[in-house]
């Protein structure tokens, strides 16, 4: 879901180059500072007597006041979420306890190791852990047996992975409002509401908490301004001295007052970004349509002659590099589900205004250039594409992609806007949508969408459907009772049983989420997030109580095509060709094909989703439709609908581990297909066939977003011709109803890996000479030749 950092690009600005090197060379770490400060605040007895929302606001203000102020060499944009250069904070009041469960293994673990000092561990263990043991969010959400059941269930998530016990996050702050009104202006707006007659106690508390948070940020900005002034005093280099004084001047002025310059505006965005991170949850906080809300500042400075194009670009680059300093701290269990230091800080590029007119501007192009020049893990750049997207914009995107930048990911306005309207967004807000996190869709500053509320293991519902509601080998029934396999007379009856099991799991998920939503409301309100989310000041409600204009809960389905292909295999072998009885097939699944390798291979080699075969694809389509239907009428406690999405982060591995063998020939414990992709290696008829299968699905109901990955080697996309082919391929896929696509152009290392692990890249298409071939079809010597060629190309 993230682009890999590559050091091959040329950097135009030497400053950006130096900043990037610093970030790349710093070992990802854990910073205990936030955990210690938040604990210190909540340990004060007198604080506990205040309303929760006030406590939260004061705690945030306290952290912002007490945290270490860091301004690094060369920086023009300042502010950090931790005291270390590249690190993640800990949220003990949220998911912090499960995280600290493996405090001792962070540094040595295999997936995403994180550095932490011994004395810091000791501090966390003595000062933080004991206090939160009976106070963290999950504990407060449930009690007694429910809690124990929940904790054991979520340690190794089988049916679903719930993310909301770690707080909600996943929003785009309304930066525009802060830039235009300044926090003083916003405080005035809040005071007007506070003075209204007949205000409820809870609204009064909410408003007071909002004001405390605003003041906390003003103080935070001033502390940085003072630090910059202090550094300027001892700075010998006159150039740097001037820069430090500008930083100080910027922060003294904004965000307290409306931003006046482009530099100030970017500084405000970054400062608010870090504060929202520190308050809520360190995940999925995105920047929204940055090329749009920064543009007026850029124009003004340009006309005034106070900025140049290069300077503006460098400032955007500074913010981009800062976003790579942020690391999410996940326990090893959760890292298995969300691998690769996933912290989707998305920036949306271009797209249309509320009326549908194109909005591509100079800043859009600067960002497209920066993603090529800087090539860091974050931010996640997402480019909106519509019929009116200008040619130079499409052209620049394509040249980035053919060069192997692997960024931006592309979003199809036509499908997305129509989907958002169906989800309940106004026409204007649909047209002006933004992207968030990995692939999610929403209205910036207006939606509190909990877009990553949970992920669902869809294939495990088929496992239960084939075993009367039990997992293979279980005595206890975890699902609901459905027919014994011998009674299934046709594939429709199998599908009906699957549907019943899926509905049972979704019903239970929604029920389990309810106390967690309520715990978020009662114990983890986020007043600052509410200041920057439209609707909350107007209604006097926190985002966690449904204060936002738009409220949703996004639940991702994982393993769609595994189920579609499995249903096809059952239909073919059992009901059409009558080669095997369903009970025999299920017995083979229960024993993980022991002694039935031949049957497994036969199942594995049956036609699969991804090859543009109508009858096969229709079953995956049915699975997605059934998944959408399972949320019909379901509402969260914030008054919002449950909406579906299809992306898996890395849960297709973790869920796969917990799931038995499947009729598509997948063995027990093996990963599912990722996102909405075909079974790994099953798409053997080239990219157009794969895209045609994908567009057989109905994405207008995937309101939360989907992820589609396409892989190519560099030679396939070489030159102007390659660029034209890619453009045609991707834009036609959009024309046919694709929602999103992300490209991976394979570099030499990946090709080498493909030679050693052919099973990981079975469908890898490489350019030979005037035509393409499957990498695995080549002889070892030829593979080496392709690998060598790719070295020459880079």
């Amino acid at each position: 879901m993230e682009t890999t950092a590559k050091a091959t690009a040329t950097i135009i600005s030497p400053r950006l180059n130096r900043l990037k090197e610093k970030v790349l060379n710093y070992p990802p770490s854990i910073c205990p500072e936030r955990a210690l400060l938040v604990t210190k605040y909540f340990k004060q007895k007198e604080n506990g007597k205040k309303p929760m929302v006030i406590q939260k606001a004061e705690a945030l203000a306290y952290i912002l006041d007490q945290k270490t102020v860091r301004i690094y060499e060369d920086e023009l944009i300042v502010g950090t979420t931790t005291s270390k250069r590249v690190a993640g904070p800990i949220f003990p009041e949220l998911h912090g306890l499960p995280v600290m469960e493996d405090l001792f293994s962070f540094s040595d673990r295999k997936i995403n190791p994180l550095k932490i000092h011994k004395h810091e561990k000791t501090k966390l263990l003595t000062e933080v852990v004991p206090f939160w043991l009976t106070r963290f969010l999950g504990y407060k959400a449930m009690n007694g047996l429910d809690l124990i059941k929940f904790v054991t269930d979520q340690l190794n998530p089988k049916f679903y992975l719930i993310n909301e016990t770690g707080g909600i996050g996943h929003l785009i702050p309304d930066h525009e409002r802060v830039l235009e009104r300044g926090l003083d202006g916003i405080k005035e707006d809040i005071r007007v509401k506070l003075n209204e007659a007949g205000l409820s106690e809870s609204a009064r508390n909410q408003y007071e908490a909002m004001i405390i948070s605003c003041d906390g940020i003003i103080n935070y900005a001033h502390k940085y301004a003072e630090k910059a002034e202090g550094l300027a005093k001892t700075e010998n280099d006159p150039g740097r001295k001037a820069e430090l004084l500008t930083i100080a001047k910027n922060l003294k002025h904004a965000p307290q007052k409306p931003a006046e310059t482009f530099h100030q505006a970017i500084q405000v965005v970054w400062l608010m970004h870090t504060a929202v991170f520190i308050e809520g949850l360190d995940n999925g906080i995105s920047f929204g349509r940055m090329d749009q809300y920064l543009y007026p500042f850029y124009r003004r400075d340009l006309i005034n002659g106070t900025i140049t194009k290069d300077k503006a670009k460098e400032l955007i680059g500074c913010l981009g590099i800062k976003s790579s300093e942020i690391i999410p701290v996940f326990s090893s269990k959760i890292s298995e589900c969300h691998g690769g230091f996933l912290s989707g800080q998305a920036i949306t590029l271009a797209g249309t205004d509320e009326e549908g007119n194109d909005l591509t501007n100079e800043l859009t192009f600067m960002m497209l250039e920066l993603m090529d020049e800087v090539r860091l893990r974050q931010p996640n750049y997402h480019a909106r594409i519509h019929d009116g997207s200008p040619k130079p914009y499409i052209d620049k995107i394509m040249s980035n992609l053919v060069k192997g930048v692997n960024s931006p990911a592309l979003y199809n306005d036509k499908v997305i806007i129509s989907s958002l309207k169906k989800a309940g967004y106004s026409d204007a807000d649909s047209n002006a949508y933004a992207t968030l996190g990995c692939v999610e869709l929403l209205s910036a500053g207006k939606t509190f969408g909990s877009t990553d509320a949970a992920l669902v293991n869809i294939p495990i519902c088929l496992e239960m459907a084939l075993n009367e509601g039990r997992l293979f080998g279980d005595l206890m029934r975890k699902g609901t009772e459905t027919k014994p396999v011998d009674d299934f007379k046709n594939i429709d009856e199998v599908k009906a049983a699957f549907k019943t099991q899926l509905q049972f799991v979704i019903d239970r998920l929604v029920k389990v989420l309810e106390p967690i939503e309520i715990a978020n409301r009662d114990f983890h309100p986020t007043p600052l997030t509410s200041v920057v989310t439209q609707g909350c000041i107007e209604s006097g409600k926190d985002v966690t109580s449904g204060g936002a204009i738009y409220n949703f809960s996004g639940v991702q389905g994982v393993g769609v095509t595994d189920v579609g292909d499995s249903l096809y295999a059952i239909d073919q072998l059992v009901f059409q060709k009558k080669k095997i009885k369903l009970s025999e097939l299920v017995n083979a699944l229960k024993t993980n094909f022991k002694g039935k390798e031949k049957l497994r291979m036969e199942l594995h080699n049956l036609p699969k989703f991804g090859n543009d075969m109508e009858d096969v694809d229709a079953l995956s389509r049915w699975v997605t439709d059934t998944y959408y239907d399972s949320f019909n009428g379901k509402m969260n406690t914030r008054g919002g609908k449950f909406v579906a999405g299809f992306y898996s982060t890395t849960t297709h591995y973790s869920f796969g581990k917990m799931t038995g063998a499947l009729p598509n020939g997948r063995e027990k414990g093996e990963p599912f297909s990722s996102g909405i992709a075909p079974m790994n290696g099953a798409d053997v008829l080239g990219p157009t066939a794969m895209f045609n299968s994908i567009t057989a699905l109905d994405f207008e109901r995937a309101h939360n977003g989907v992820n589609v990955n396409a892989k190519f080697d560099t030679a396939t996309l070489k030159g102007e011709h390659g660029k034209m082919i890619l453009e045609s391929l991707l834009l036609t896929y959009f024309k046919k109803g694709g929602m999103q696509v992300q490209l991976n152009v394979l570099d030499t290392e990946m090709l080498k890996d493909a030679k050693i692990h052919p099973e990981k890249y079975p469908n890898l298409l490489v350019r030979v000479s005037g035509y393409s071939a499957y990498f695995n079809d080549l002889s070892p010597a030829m593979k080496d030749e392709i690998i060598n060629r790719s070295c020459l190309n880079t």
Partner: protein, 258 residues
């Protein structure tokens, strides 16, 4: 020339379960330390590929009706439209199936699909001519000019190829000529000079150069190709540039496939 499908054997996927042996009507499959197909006996019926569940046996080449082909082709029509692409009839030698191709071509034109054919030029003009109204492009390979050398290596009369060139030019056909650069066979001075002469005689000012590559070797092994192993190394960039310069110094524009 063999028109039958090929049976490809992927030895690395074979589990020696002998399902194929059971269904083979001519007993052509031998399982053992070196499992293989007796290609002399094999009649390419493909029954073994249907019985094989491991993916070790695959039939290359299927029989389709015109409707079936069109159903497949039309699936990607939107992609042809945006990429300026279309359908290319390739081979083997597609002109051997001229009657069938004519029907498919007519259908393609009904659907406004761009069409192209790749030919070795050794076709029967009377069979090929009816295709012309439906072809948007013809890729015509030029290999060896000398009659004897052509006969020895490729088995046909190069005069027929040269006369087909004339006929296509005469009919104003949208033809583009391509020279496969095959080490030891088409790239010696004598042949290149003859090729230049032919091109000049016929007023052809642009050609495509197709360098030899060895990417097909893995496949040759899988189908036990009866074709001779050329045992040649592909040209390096410098050599390829040399060929390009040679043609361009004769004022013939080149497009080199890399």
């Amino acid at each position: 020339m063999d028109h039958r499908p090929e049976i490809a054997f992927y030895a690395e996927k074979c589990t020696k379960n002998a399902d194929c042996v059971e269904v083979c009507p001519v007993n052509a499959i031998i399982i053992g330390s070196k499992t293989h197909i007796d290609r002399e006996l094999c009649n390419r019926c493909g029954k073994c590929t249907e019985a094989c569940v491991t993916g070790a046996l695959k039939k290359i080449g299927n029989v389709y009706s015109v409707d079936e082909v069109m159903h497949q082709l039309l699936k990607d029509k939107p992609y042809y439209e945006t990429s300026g692409g279309g359908v290319t009839f390739s081979g083997g030698e597609p002109s051997l199936h001229a009657d069938f191709i004519l029907e498919v071509l007519k259908e393609c034109k009904k659907h406004d699909i761009h069409t192209n054919i790749e030919t070795n030029g050794y076709f029967n003009w009377e069979k090929f001519k009816p295709l012309l109204p439906y072809l948007d492009q013809i890729y015509f390979d030029l290999k060896i000019v000398d009659q004897k050398r052509n006969k020895d290596l490729l088995g046909g009369d190069s005069q027929r190829i040269l006369s087909n060139m004339d006929l296509l030019i005469e009919h104003n056909a949208p033809v583009e000529f391509r020279i496969p650069l095959i080490p030891g066979h088409t790239t010696d001075d004598e042949n290149l000079k003859s090729l230049v002469r032919v091109l000049k005689e016929k007023g052809i000012s642009k050609i495509h150069l197709l360098p030899y590559h060895s990417m097909g070797e893995a496949k040759a092994e899988r189908i036990c190709s009866p074709l001779i192993d050329l045992n040649q190394k592909p040209f390096d960039t410098e050599q390829l540039n040399g060929f390009q310069h040679m043609f361009e110094s004769e004022h013939i524009e080149t497009e080199l496939y890399r």
